[in-house]
Subunit: 294 residues, 2 copies
Amino acid sequence: MTLDVVSYLKTKKTQINEHLIMLLKRTEAPKRLKKSMLYSVKAGGKRLRPILMLAVIEAFQCKTEYGMQPAAALEFVHTYSLIHDDLPAMDDDDLRRGLLTNHKKFDEATAILAGDGLLTFAFTCLAQAPFINDKVKLWLIQELANAAGSSEMIGGQMDDIQAEGKTLDIIALEKIYQKKTGRLLEFAVMAGATIANGDQSTKDNLQLFARHLGLAFQIQDDILDIEGDESMLGKPVGSDVGNKKNTYPEILGIEGAKKQLKVHFEKALDALNRTSIQHEALEGIAHFVIERHY
Amino acid sequence: MTLDVVSYLKTKKTQINEHLIMLLKRTEAPKRLKKSMLYSVKAGGKRLRPILMLAVIEAFQCKTEYGMQPAAALEFVHTYSLIHDDLPAMDDDDLRRGLLTNHKKFDEATAILAGDGLLTFAFTCLAQAPFINDKVKLWLIQELANAAGSSEMIGGQMDDIQAEGKTLDIIALEKIYQKKTGRLLEFAVMAGATIANGDQSTKDNLQLFARHLGLAFQIQDDILDIEGDESMLGKPVGSDVGNKKNTYPEILGIEGAKKQLKVHFEKALDALNRTSIQHEALEGIAHFVIERHY
């Protein structure tokens, strides 16, 4: 690859961070609530979902700026889901990305409201997205509500909680991963393709790319929870074992998990290679997903 | 008035309840999550917000069915806000409408996710609302996200929490009420007027009507918390005093609060009388709001 993925990701991340903060700063909210919303948004993260959306748009040689606000909306939804997932009643996590989780930094009530606020604000951002026509805006709203809704992301979190302490097979685990993180990654990719007005055959391949990438992403997460470096991850390793979570390494062993990671990575690249879009950056992102240390 | 308000409200409530349950039953979600969402939606309530929306649509002699899905979306948002407000970290209430609150019936994690699910589903309902053109759909989405967002409803809940134990003046309290409940009632009325494609002058008067009605509603809530009948309310009276909440009777005394109730009721009716729409049902609803015992 001629593209420098590391600097590509860094540039995009900076661009997205600026946009997220610009949008959020414009909103009115009680001081403490706004501070709490900004805290979790600023806490960073890989920004994988918005970067994917922008990279797809660029792969179609469409303008990046068309996707900035939809990409921000998606990241607000992702951030809200992390705030609520970290709550004591859910995963009860104290650290996220090396910082105190929202309810630890503020309090539970503020964290619940900050999550609610970010989720709601995502729909404001989509409804007001510049450059996007009404039909596409409504598609984005419907698809994001679906991907983040009770049948997908929220449902996946519910399944995940209910599966704690139980032994799942790989099919059941894959289904939870698909719902919990897969569908939002898929939305990122398909939103990019829809904004760029891509053709159906390319969209079909991109959907396959997104599905395999989503699973690869989650498997690498599982592997990092065992083999990762706490200082890179910004959270303790081994929390999945502690929380009695079902994971790929738990079911398939670490080598089996690594094999599956490779299978999904290759299937993702195969799908990408069947398209005629400029997919260098997307390929780079896929490499990052399976090679990352955080 | 020739219109029988009691039977009007009953008919509309039945119609709305059926629609809410029909929409929710169609969604896919893990069994326990769906049960929890249905539980709070079925727990009932006055359905004041959706009834207001439908009554405005009918006042313009537009078809009721045009408003059914947007009205349901609004009620889902209202229901989600009650589930989250009742949580231990917030108002910590055990009873709502004579039934266990969601987190008492299920558990905190499920209640948080059920709230998230209902909020998200509201936007699905708006994006897919039949009979509504794309422009109006986007208006509804933007306005509902705004009214329910961190600057309004969620912000009002934050303000309310932060004001506990502090002494507010009536201006500050009115502002919290405006944000916490007023804006969603206003949305109900303005959404009805927008769906019915009402003229600007009528819309302006309806907005005034909604604002005064919203305050009257909240003042009556405060009065019922002192003078109400627990068996009618379905929750203990005196909880505002127990929670050190600022209320109209707390600041103005019970007689002062009743006087303000009358002032806002009359201003609401004045605004309504300046319109030329068929406002008999709306007038009936205003009477219900200040005369209700629950």
